[in-house]
Amino acid sequence: MSVSLYIEVLIQGVLSGLVYGLMALGLSVIFGVVRVVNFAHGEFAVLAMYCAFVLFGLAGVDPIIASLPLAVAFFILGYAMQRGMVQPFVTRPQHEQFILLVGVALVITNGLLLAFGPESKHVDLPYSFDSYTVGGALIDKVRVYGAAAALAVTAALFAFFRFTSTGTAIRASADNLTGAAVVGLDVKRLYAISFGLGLACVGAAGSIMMALTDMTPMLAPSLTLLAFTIVIVGGLGSMTGALAGGLLIGVAEAVASLVVSPAIKSMVSFGLLVLVLALRPQGLFGKAES
C-alpha cells in the first residue's frame, strides 16, 4: 500500500474528527456547566440532520450553510429544554437524569421514525461526488467544506467564552458554582444558555453531517456513544479536550480501519477510552477534580 493512501486516510480522519469534535463539544459544554450528561446527544444530532434534510427539500438550502440557522434554532430549543424540563433534575441523582434523557431519546428517535420512515435520508449536493487531488491523495470536497464549517462554529464558540461577559460568567460558574451564585450571577439563566449552546453545537454539527453522510433514526445511539468516547478521551467538560478528542478518535478509527479491520474500529476508540480512564481519568485535557 502506497504512502499516499496513508496520508489520505489520515486527512479523512482529521476532517471527520473536526465535525465529530464539534458534536462532542456540545456534550462537553453541557456537562462542564450544568453537570448533566446528555444521554440523548446523538438523538439531537440526528434531529438536526433531519431538520437540515427538510430545509434542503423545501428551500434547497445547502446543509453546510443551514448549520447557522440550525445552530440558532437548537440554541433556543436547548434554552427552553433546560428551563422547562432539565432544571429540576440538575440537583437530582445521575440515574434520574439518565432516565429522563433516555425518555427524550426515545421520543426523538421514534418521532422521526414516525414522520420520515425507516429509510435512510440524504441530500444531493452538486458537489457531493467531487474530490480534490492533492499530490496523489484524493480528498472529498464535501468533507473539506464540512470540516471548515465545523471549525468556524467551534472558533465562534471559543470566542464567545473568551470575549463576552456572559461567556466569562458561564466559565466562572462552571469553575465555582457557589462562588458564582454569591457574586450574584443568575445561575439558572447561565445553565439555560449553556444547554442552549450545547445543543447549538449539535445543531450545527448535525446539519453539517447531513451533507457528509446518510442518516436513519436508528443510528442515533451510536452517535451518542461516539460523542461520549470523544469527550471522555478529551476530558469531560473541557472544550479544547472535545476538539482534540474528536481529532484523535477520527484519526485513530481511520488508521485502525486501514491497518487492522474496519469492523473493529470502534473497539479501538473504546479501548482508547478505557486507557485514558485508567491513566488519566479526567481526560487528556480535563482538570483533575478536587
Binding site: 427524550v104 473493529i264 473504546f270
Partner: protein
C-alpha cells in the same frame, strides 16, 4: 432467613403471600400470551434485582450490565453445543466468567478512582468492547449469531434446560424469588450495611472502617454473577444469541429501567418496575393497534413520554409511593 425477612409487617406479609400464590397458579389460570408477559416481567425483575444490588445498595451506576448477561449466555451456550456441558454445570462457569470480567472492570474503576459518571461511562465502554469482540469472533458465530439446537428429541430434558412454557415459567419464578431472598439477606447482613454506608457517603464509610474497594468488588461480583445466571436462562429459552441483541447498550438500559422506575435500593422496586413496564409495552402494542394507531414508532414514543412522566413525578420510584399508600413495608426506607 427470619432475620432477612424481619422487615415484613403483618400486612405486607399477607400481600406478599397473595402475590406469591397468584404467580404460582398463574399458568393454570391465564392464557399463554399473558403468561409470556408475566414470564418476561419475572425475568426483568430478576435482572433488575441483580443490578439493584450494585446501584441501589452500593451506589455504583452500571450502564453495561448486558456484558454479564451476554457472557453468561454465550458461555453456557458454547459449552453446551461444542463441549456437551449441561447448563446446570456451566452456570457456575458462566458466573466465574462474569466475575472475571467484573474483576477487570473493578480493578480499572476502583484502583484508578474512576467514580460517578466516569464509572458509568467506563461500564458502557467495557461492554461495547466485548460486544464488538463477539461480533468478530467467528468461534462463537460472530455477528451471524450462535444457535442452540432445538431438536424435538431434546424437549422435556429439564436437566438440559429443555422444556415447555410451564417449565420456563416456574424457572423464572424461582429465579425471581431467589433474587428477592438474596437481596433481603444481603440487606440485613453486615455486608449490606457496608454497601449502604458506601452509597450514602464513601468517606464516612471508610472512616467507620469499611474497606471501600473490597466492599465494592463484592457488590460488583454478586451483581455480575446473578446477571450471568439470567444470561444462561436467556440462552436456553431463546435458543439463539446475537451480540447485537444480548450485548447491546440498549439491553443494558432495558435492564436498569425496571429497578429505577420501581424504586432504587428497595427490595420490591425491581418487581414493581418490571411488572409495570413489561405489560405496559405489550398493552401499548395492543391498545394502539385497537385504536388504529399502530404506526411503527408510536409505541416507543409513548413509552418514552411515560418514562419521562414517571421519573419527573415520582423521583424515588413507584414502590416507596405505593408502599406508603397501602401501608406496606413500613421498614423499607
Amino acid at each position: 432467613m427470619s432475620g432477612a425477612l424481619s422487615f415484613l409487617t403483618p400486612r405486607s406479609t399477607i400481600v406478599l403471600i397473595v402475590c406469591g400464590v397468584a404467580l404460582l397458579v398463574a399458568p393454570f389460570v391465564v392464557d399463554r400470551y399473558t403468561l409470556s408477559i408475566i414470564l418476561l416481567s419475572l425475568l426483568g425483575a430478576y435482572l433488575g434485582q441483580a443490578w439493584n444490588i450494585l446501584m441501589g445498595y452500593c451506589g455504583l451506576l452500571s450502564l453495561g450490565h448486558a456484558l454479564y448477561l451476554g457472557l453468561g449466555a454465550y458461555a453456557s451456550a458454547v459449552l453446551f453445543v461444542n463441549f456437551g456441558v449441561g447448563p446446570w454445570l456451566s452456570v457456575f462457569i458462566a458466573m466465574a466468567l462474569a466475575i472475571g470480567a467484573a474483576a477487570i472492570l473493578g480493578w480499572l474503576g476502583f484502583r484508578f478512582r474512576i467514580e460517578g459518571v466516569y464509572f458509568s461511562l467506563l461500564t458502557i465502554a467495557f461492554a461495547e468492547i466485548v460486544r464488538i469482540g463477539f461480533d468478530n469472533w467467528s468461534f462463537v458465530g460472530g455477528a451471524a449469531g450462535f444457535f442452540l439446537p432445538v431438536n424435538a428429541s431434546l424437549s422435556d430434558q429439564w436437566w438440559n434446560l429443555r422444556g415447555g412454557p410451564f417449565f420456563f415459567y416456574y424457572l423464572a419464578l424461582a429465579m425471581a424469588v431467589a433474587s428477592l431472598v438474596i437481596a433481603a439477606m444481603l440487606r440485613s447482613s453486615k455486608l449490606g450495611y457496608a454497601f449502604l454506608a458506601i452509597r450514602e457517603d464513601p468517606q464516612a464509610a471508610r472512616a467507620l472502617g469499611v474497606n471501600l474497594n473490597r466492599t465494592r468488588f463484592l457488590a460488583l461480583f454478586i451483581s455480575a454473577a446473578m446477571t450471568a445466571v439470567g444470561g444462561v436462562y436467556l440462552a436456553f429459552w431463546t435458543n439463539n444469541l446475537f451480540p447485537a441483541q444480548i450485548l447491546e447498550t440498549s439491553k443494558s438500559i432495558e435492564i436498569i429501567l425496571a429497578p429505577i422506575i420501581g424504586g432504587l435500593g428497595t427490595l420490591m422496586g425491581p418487581f414493581v418496575g418490571a411488572f409495570l413496564l413489561v405489560p405496559l409495552g405489550s398493552a401499548l402494542t395492543d391498545g394502539l393497534r385497537a385504536i388504529g394507531l399502530s404506526a411503527p414508532g408510536v409505541k416507543a414514543l409513548v413509552y418514552g413520554l411515560i418514562l419521562m412522566a414517571i421519573i419527573a413525578s415520582t423521583p424515588n420510584g413507584l414502590w416507596p409511593w405505593i408502599a406508603r399508600k397501602l401501608g406496606l413495608g413500613a421498614r423499607e426506607q
